[in-house]
């Protein structure tokens, strides 16, 4: 028996692996490098646009992986069924407000294929259980929203980016100043649904939450988590633990990204857990 004192983030990573194995997700091990070209046209998807590059022995320009999801999509097979992966990797990014590259520990899951409501529900449930696993006795919360509704309301809107920024900031006074659609303002104010019948077509979020009632005290519908409509099209969510100043979990359904990568019919949902901050708990 090894007598090792694990750091909190190492322990958390192992506990998460056990959790994902329990749900029959397969461990996905990948190379730390991708060809730089692979990221060049997908920079908006990455949280930091700067990529650490080097030239390999064949003279190819390579990148130290800034993101795991894109690599998993690329290497996943094209077929009708469902593929479930989990990972425990390092990524290389320049975090916001930092001056240089950092190695960041990231665990997470991706569920790709012909997704059903049950799959989506399971991923949300796993997000909650991931938070529970790493939070210990601390409080945690999962904020969730439907990016699809926002995309529909803002279709054709001129100042979409400004509106999204204010929505993410819960900035109601500026939304009113810029005459944002009523529906957006009411969602920013904390409404969980919009009453207008115009958009009443697609309440996927409701259906997902319907099956997750036992977690109602840790799930909150909060539209400030919607940020990127270019890649996320369905539900999006973000997890917080009391005592850690930034979100520790972030994910959503990204069929649009799949389409951009040439996987027209596949759906995909996943999330990443950032473990570097949990030593602070």
């Amino acid at each position: 028996m090894l007598n090792l004192r694990l750091r909190p983030e190492e322990k958390a990573a192992l506990n998460l692996r056990a959790l994902y194995e329990d749900y029959h997700y397969k461990y996905y091990r990948m190379s730390r490098f991708e060809e730089y070209d692979f990221y060049a046209d997908k920079k908006d998807f990455l949280t930091s646009k700067r990529i650490l590059t080097f030239t390999d022995t064949n003279g190819r320009l390579m990148a130290l992986r800034p993101d795991v999801t894109l690599s998993i999509i690329k290497h996943s097979r094209v077929f009708d069924g469902i593929q479930k992966f989990y990972y425990d990797e390092k990524v290389y990014r320049v975090p916001k407000n930092a001056n240089n590259f950092q190695e960041i520990s990231q665990s997470g899951i991706e569920c790709i294929g012909n997704l059903t409501l049950e799959n989506l529900r399971e991923v949300v449930e796993l997000a909650i259980l991931s938070l529970k696993t790493i939070a210990g006795e601390h409080k945690y919360i999962l904020d969730i929203a439907d990016a699809g509704i926002i995309a529909e309301i803002l279709r054709g809107s001129e100042n979409k980016q400004e509106i999204l920024k204010c929505l993410a900031e819960k900035n109601i006074h500026e939304l009113q100043n810029m005459n944002a659609p009523e529906e957006i303002i009411s969602l920013a104010e904390g409404e969980e649904k919009i009453s207008s019948t115009k958009y009443n077509t697609f309440y996927f979020l409701d259906e997902i939450l319907e099956g997750l009632k036992k977690y109602h005290d840790v799930i909150r519908v909060d539209y400030s988590v919607v940020n990127n409509l270019n890649y996320y099209n369905g539900i999006v969510f973000r997890g917080f633990i009391e005592g850690i100043p930034e979100s520790v979990l972030s994910g959503g359904q990204y069929d649009t990204m799949m389409r951009l990568m040439g996987r027209k019919d596949a759906k995909a949902i996943g999330f990443a857990v950032y473990l570097d901050e949990i030593g602070r708990l």
Binding site: K139, I141, D143, N171, H173, F240, E242, I244, P245, E246
Partner: protein
């Protein structure tokens, strides 16, 4: 315990007045001393003075749960925080000013002096104008007068300083005032208390 970051200086004093009128008092906080941290145990609140530019940093990193920051600083730094309320104090504008005889020559790169390089860059990118940014730390009015820059991007309150230097506003960028910001994670777990504070400040 709620931690509050207030900006040192005139704006911070105006904002503190709102807090004290709402019943959140920190005895001795307005005395001119070296003390920076003030606690009111009864309220379960702690207040500290920081440089105005640093308020978003304290809030984004969670050292402060909430803070009051000028919109100018929020636009410049774009912190990942909630902007929960307009405190309606310290009204002014972000604007472009130039010498009264200035004529823009679109064939040349415009030299812009400012304390707010990101705001200036965003504004001119938005209208597709190429600029050369000169970042200064104050006394902006000097730059066009001495020929260091063609225009300045700066905060304009009454316009008196501009007039005294024979400058005038040529473009408006944004309305500014003090905003109440909150750390996103803190708001998840102390949201009720924070909302209560905002409600009382607004009364």
């Amino acid at each position: 315990m709620i931690n509050i970051a207030l900006p040192k200086g005139r704006l911070g004093e105006k904002v503190y007045k709102l807090f004290s009128e709402a019943g959140y008092e920190f005895p001795g906080i307005l005395d001119k001393g070296r003390k920076l941290i003030f606690e009111n145990e009864e309220l379960g609140m702690r207040c500290f003075w920081v440089k105005p530019f640093d308020v978003p940093v304290y809030v984004e990193r969670g050292t402060a749960d909430i803070g009051a920051a000028g919109k100018d600083i929020l636009l410049e730094r774009s912190p990942d925080v909630y902007e929960l309320a307009d405190l309606k104090a310290g009204f002014c504008r972000m604007a472009v000013a130039a010498r009264s005889d200035f004529v823009d020559d679109p064939e040349r790169i415009l030299r812009v002096a400012t304390e707010f390089p990101n705001i200036a860059q965003n504004y001119y990118s938005g209208i597709g104008r190429e600029i050369d940014i000169i970042t200064l730390r104050g006394s902006l009015e000097l730059a066009p007068v001495l020929g260091l820059s063609d225009v300045i991007v700066d905060i304009v309150e009454t316009g008196t300083t501009l007039r005294e230097n024979n400058l005038s506003v040529i473009n408006f960028i944004a309305d500014l005032s003090a905003r109440l910001i909150a750390n996103k994670s803190a708001y998840k777990f102390k949201g009720d208390t924070i909302n209560e504070i905002i409600k009382k400040l607004a009364q």
